[in-house]
């Protein structure tokens, strides 16, 4: 066996040029397959990231009744002890964002409108979605300074501007009346116009006081250090809080099923594209391997004539193609890793209609790539298998070779 390995290894370096061409075929195949998957996955991750940051976050801890009946009566108590327990449940947790989210009537001097009222901690919120960058005028409040920030379009509907005072009217916990006067300290342009039409932010402290919900939040957003670990992190939190406790831990697919649908749909299309790519790759590889076989007919014929057994020769040639595939796949891994690292750090910037539409939606107009490790090894394995199947061709050819004709070519 060792002899065959040695023979095969020496054979492939006997004709360096030919070997390098074959290896580069495999390398390039891996590079392209990984890039395709990486582009696909990257754009989905980008979409999820944007959506989650502006809507629900990646993981939410809530009172177990809140999802069915989103009312302040089902707010959950939140203090440093609970924050410590959640933070300690998994070391992949980056930071926590407490929110009070409810509806309230927002009244200016002569207009009253229903709005979404968010009690937030502006610093932590900013870490999640850069909310302060969307400020068009004024500033964000400090905790408890009794001012608010509202959507630009919402301000237009209420016919108010910075410095004006708004009255918030709503229902606090357990039927308490909530009413308060707040001066407008800033205007924000929320990227999603539907929300911009009806959003008002006050400090978490003010919201808790207004709605008689001291020490409570309606939801606690948990941001993992790596977005893709959301499932494991959520599971750790569930374990820490107890599965049947008064808390529910929700992840983004549960909170935004539509988005998951859209991605599943896209993925189905991606499979077809990948399938076609594999076919094209297989043909390219087959072309190289076939030409190589044709070129070596004379050599094979001579070897068989001098007494080498067909099975031995087929085995050696198969080993050669095995080495070539292996080297190609490894080189492909290194090359695609370098290329994707580059595009990960310098993503392709979109232009034209796609970019305009994305900007209007508040998303960064880039074509991001993903560096998830499973992308690399799954594509490496698939291309390696394709290469191995194709490598059976020369071996089969040798088994059926007509010695006399081969020696003459």
């Amino acid at each position: 066996m060792l002899l065959y390995l040695k023979l095969a290894w020496r054979n492939i370096w006997r004709n360096k040029r030919r070997t390098l061409i074959s290896i580069s075929s495999v390398t390039f195949a891996v590079l392209l397959a990984v890039s395709t998957q990486s582009l696909n996955r990257g754009s989905h991750d980008h979409m999820i990231d944007n959506m989650a940051r502006f809507h629900t976050g990646f993981i939410q801890v809530q009172d177990s009744m809140y999802d069915d009946e989103p009312s302040l009566d089902h707010a959950m108590p939140f203090d440093d002890a609970l924050a410590g327990r959640i933070r300690g449940s998994d070391n992949r947790i980056d930071f926590l964002i407490p929110r009070i989210e409810t509806y309230a009537l927002v009244a200016s001097e002569d207009i009253t409108r229903g709005g979404i009222l968010m009690g937030i901690d502006p610093e932590r919120e900013h870490r999640l979605n850069g909310v302060q960058d969307h400020l068009v005028e004024g500033r964000f409040f400090d905790q408890g300074d009794e001012t608010l920030v509202i959507g630009e379009r919402f301000a237009g509907r209420l016919n108010v501007s910075i410095g004006d005072t708004l009255v918030l009217l709503g229902q606090g916990r357990f039927g308490m009346t909530a009413a308060g006067k707040y001066a407008i300290s800033g205007l924000i342009r929320h990227p999603i116009s539907d929300i911009d039409n009806q959003i008002a932010y006050i400090s978490l402290h003010d919201a808790q006081w207004l709605f008689s919900a001291e020490g409570h939040v309606t939801s606690l957003l948990v941001t993992p250090t790596q977005v893709r670990h959301y499932d494991q992190v959520a599971e750790s939190i569930r374990r820490e809080l107890g599965h049947d406790s008064e808390f529910a831990v929700l992840t983004w697919p549960e909170m935004m099923p539509e988005l998951l649908q859209a991605i599943e749909f896209d993925n189905a299309g991606g499979h077809v594209v990948t399938g076609i790519l594999y076919i094209v790759i297989a043909f390219g590889l087959f072309g190289t391997i076939l030409t190589m076989t044709l070129e070596r007919m004379r050599e094979f014929g001579v070897l068989l004539s001098v007494g080498m057994q067909r099975v031995q020769l087929a085995g050696v040639v198969f080993l050669e193609t095995f080495f070539i595939s292996l080297l190609g796949v490894l080189a492909g891994f290194v090359l695609s890793f370098l290329l994707l690292i580059y595009f990960y750090l310098n993503p392709v910037e979109l232009s034209g209609d796609a970019a305009g539409a994305m900007l209007a939606y508040g998303f960064e107009p880039i074509l991001p790539v993903s560096l998830a490790p499973d992308l690399f090894y799954s594509q490496m394995i698939i291309i390696f298998l394709i290469a191995i199947v194709i490598s059976l061709y020369p071996a089969l050819k040798i088994i059926r070779l007509n010695i006399l004709e081969a020696a003459r070519t």
């Binding site: 040029r17 030919r18 390039f28 392209l32 189905a268 043909f283 390219g284 190289t288 539409a357």
Partner: protein, 405 residues
């Protein structure tokens, strides 16, 4: 020159296996490229068509402030003449006037916030695909008093069945809370469970009687003979009826544009990758073929064929191979598209989850003439670039060394 042609043509057929595989690569590349483009188009159109046919229709007319405020009194002034005008426009296939209300649906079990659409049964059926999405029961008919269609998701949440009573609570025109009892005549299921939970459909006469005691409309949705005409029709409505605000489907839902443009860009990049795979496959095969033929080429040079001719011969071989391959690839993809464009491809094969979501899993790929020629040109270009390098290699051959190999 003609002798070069002959030599090249014969060279191609002297090695049927090698030429066959090269041609195969070009055929597969052309076919794959066209198919991927067609697939992308099919997917985008399917998504857009879905939203147009179930949720948006091609265009909608509202009171200028209705979409922001949704107050019951923001009705369409002089709806009758707008309807008459639209029905007289030959670009318009059908129109559906609607009375809308934001309210609550109440069953003995629980309460849920819903948007109530009061529709004209025949006109709604002609305008949107809601009727096709009925899962159980019947369309809004005369069997029950105050019939209502609800989504499967809402029916599950409220634990209601066909024939059950459902109380709808909403604001009347004076902002007083009012309510009415409705009977479930049908249950629909669309691709979006969220939509199914938040929307119910009743007869507009029943709803407007409860809101104001007379018939009026908040929304006119229209279905056109082709979506390209949306801009024209909507502009005409806005010009003729300055008191209302008409919007096209892409103004109503800018997300569609975003999704379509983004998927389009992504498809374009994937295409580029497939084309690179094709070009590289061809390049490597050609290169191998040249090395295999070193001896032959060296011989040709030694017996006096000049270098330019050798170069031309190899380029001609590549050209002929490429053109015949591209031609066969086009034929193959026309046949494939013709077959699939008619029957569609069932994506359920690739993702089990899709059917559960209620998506139409069948996609119908299609390619526009421009894309078609674009891809063919890219393929030919890729193949030629791939042929130049080996031809240059041959051009630089040292005849003495080459014939020794």
């Amino acid at each position: 020159m003609s002798i070069l042609f002959q030599i090249s043509w014969r060279n191609i057929w002297r090695h049927p296996a090698r030429s066959g595989i090269l041609m195969g690569a070009i055929i597969v590349g052309t076919w794959g490229g066209i198919l991927v483009a067609g697939w992308g188009n099919g997917l985008i159109e399917q998504r857009v068509d879905y939203l147009i046919s179930t949720e948006l229709s091609h265009g909608q007319v509202h009171h200028p402030e209705y979409r922001a405020e949704r107050e019951p009194w923001m009705t369409i002034p002089d709806a009758e003449s707008i309807l008459a005008y639209l029905e007289g426009d030959e670009r318009v296939q059908s129109v559906s006037p609607r009375t809308l209300s934001e309210g609550m649906a109440r069953s003995p079990v629980t309460t849920s916030g819903v948007r109530i659409h009061g529709v004209h049964p025949e006109k709604e059926r002609a305008t949107t695909a809601l009727y096709d999405r009925l899962e159980k029961g019947d369309w809004l008919g005369d069997e029950f008093r105050n019939p209502v269609l609800i989504g499967g998701q809402l029916a599950d949440k409220l634990r209601l069945e066909i024939g059950n009573r459902l109380v709808l609570q909403f604001q009347d025109i004076d902002n007083e809370i009012t309510a009415g009892a409705f009977h479930i005549s049908g249950i629909f299921r669309s691709a979006s469970s969220d939509y199914d939970e938040r929307n119910v459909f009743v007869k507009s006469d029943d709803l407007s009687a409860l809101i104001a005691g007379e018939t009026f409309y908040h929304e006119i949705a229209m279905s056109l003979t082709s979506s390209d005409q949306a801009d024209g029709v909507i502009a005409d409505v806005n010009e003729r009826f300055p008191d209302v605000h008409a919007q096209t489907w892409h103004e109503l839902s800018p997300e569609i544009r975003y999704i379509a443009a983004y998927s389009g860009t992504l498809t374009y990049f994937l295409m580029a990758i497939i084309m690179m795979a094709l070009a590289f496959g061809i390049l490597n095969t050609m290169l191998m073929a040249i090395f295999e033929r070193m001896r032959e080429l060296g011989m040709l040079l030694s017996i006096g064929m000049n270098r330019i001719r050798v170069f031309a011969m190899i380029m001609l071989e590549s050209l002929m191979l490429t053109f015949s391959g591209a031609l066969a690839g086009i034929l193959l993809s026309v046949l494939t598209l013709w077959y699939l464009g008619d029957r569609g491809i069932d994506m359920g094969m690739f993702a089990d989850g899709l059917a559960e979501f209620g998506f139409d899993t069948i996609t119908y790929p299609f390619v526009t003439a421009g894309e078609f020629f674009g891809i063919v040109i890219i393929v030919i270009f890729a193949a030629l670039i791939a042929a130049v390098y080996p031809a240059i290699k041959a051009f630089r051959l040292n005849p003495v060394e080459a014939s020794k190999e």
